[in-house]
Amino acid sequence: MEIAGFPQVLHTRNYGHPDVLFVPLIQEARAAVSFCERLIADGETQEEAASMSGIQLATSFLKNPSFSLSARGMQEEHYYFLDLASGTIRMKSRLYAEVSRRTSMFKVEIVGRIPEGIYAVRTIGESPATFQFDHESAQHPLFFSTILAEECLHLKVQHERFLRPDMPGRKPEPPEVCLTVETSSRKVPVILRKKGEREEWELFDAELGARFGVLPAEATDHLQHLLESLSEMLEAVAGGKHSGPAASDYLATAVKDRAKS
């Protein structure tokens, strides 16, 4: 467990699994975040308030003999990073889901705001997926090792079906576009998702799942053109008309033609 600005990490051999540590850690961290805010309100600088609240949090865990301080750099199966000044937690963990006597392992990253108690989960690996859970869900016993792990598996299966869309029994799902948008200050992964049968596209934060809003009509037209061109291109490629570099030329031409029309 690492606390921003704190010089060493807190290490535990027995209590690191999120089923055991996540909720108590969040409870202690919430107290530390409030403490930090109180110190700032009382006139401490943000840096000092963060240090003092880090001291408070670390001391509370060091009361348990299973926790000790150690230098940074060890590779841990479960890693927690707390930034008390910004009230955020980032966690990396490995979860295991067992279905039909086959075990799947998932590396997950969980990020969230400690006071609000809403967390986004991102699976890391071949089939990345994102979803959310809240503090109340996390209080369910074995939430991480069962519910969350199974949700990861469910999303992995969904993702594989997405890659093989003609699989029998698959319900048609609204189209979705995932992309990373570069703003002047950062790169934001976003998802554009078509809203039912309507010609509206909603924009979501791909990491946190938050909804940004509905795409403006003008942008929707461009997106519609692009998707139609992509569809034509894929049909053409599947029919053997285009492949390799020629395919991208085809796409460029198709997009231009549509823009003209």
Binding site: F6, V20, F61, L62, N64, P65, S68
Partner: protein
């Protein structure tokens, strides 16, 4: 998760393994003005000015008017060097490794959690005489 998990995680004893060396290094009897900041046993933050009674490269001993728990963490800032120059404004974190009651104060030994940081510029480097 039930509340008893929280109490399970907050046991009784400290972390002897986190500071196994217990300041075996050379100590110097230097009276350096420091500010000690931390969380008292009552859970309230405090800042107290005091002086060291001895220092070493990785630790120091000082007295405070209030008792702290063994293994608790404090931040120490050197207020002035022996030459009278203002100390480094940076706080360095220490862990309290022993606490002893004296007639009018609490004497404490502390071990730095930032061994890569020179916490006190007055401590001679190895082979140098004390300044």
């Amino acid at each position: 998760m039930p509340d008893n998990t929280k109490s399970d995680l907050r046991g009784a004893a400290g972390t002897a393994e986190s500071h196994p060396n217990q300041r075996r290094e050379r100590r110097y009897p230097l009276l350096i003005p420091i500010e000690v900041s931390g969380i008292g046993k009552d859970g309230r933050p405090f800042h107290e000015n005091t002086v060291t009674s001895d220092v070493s490269e990785r630790g120091c001993r000082f007295s405070l008017s209030k008792e702290l728990e063994r293994d608790s963490i404090v931040a120490i800032r050197v207020l002035r060097t022996l030459a009278g120059a203002p100390g480094d404004s940076r706080m360095v974190m220490f862990q309290i490794i022993h606490v002893r009651q004296e007639p009018s104060a609490w004497s404490m030994g502390a071990w730095t959690l930032q061994p890569d940081v020179t916490w006190c510029p007055d401590i001679p480097r190895e082979g140098e005489p004390p300044r």
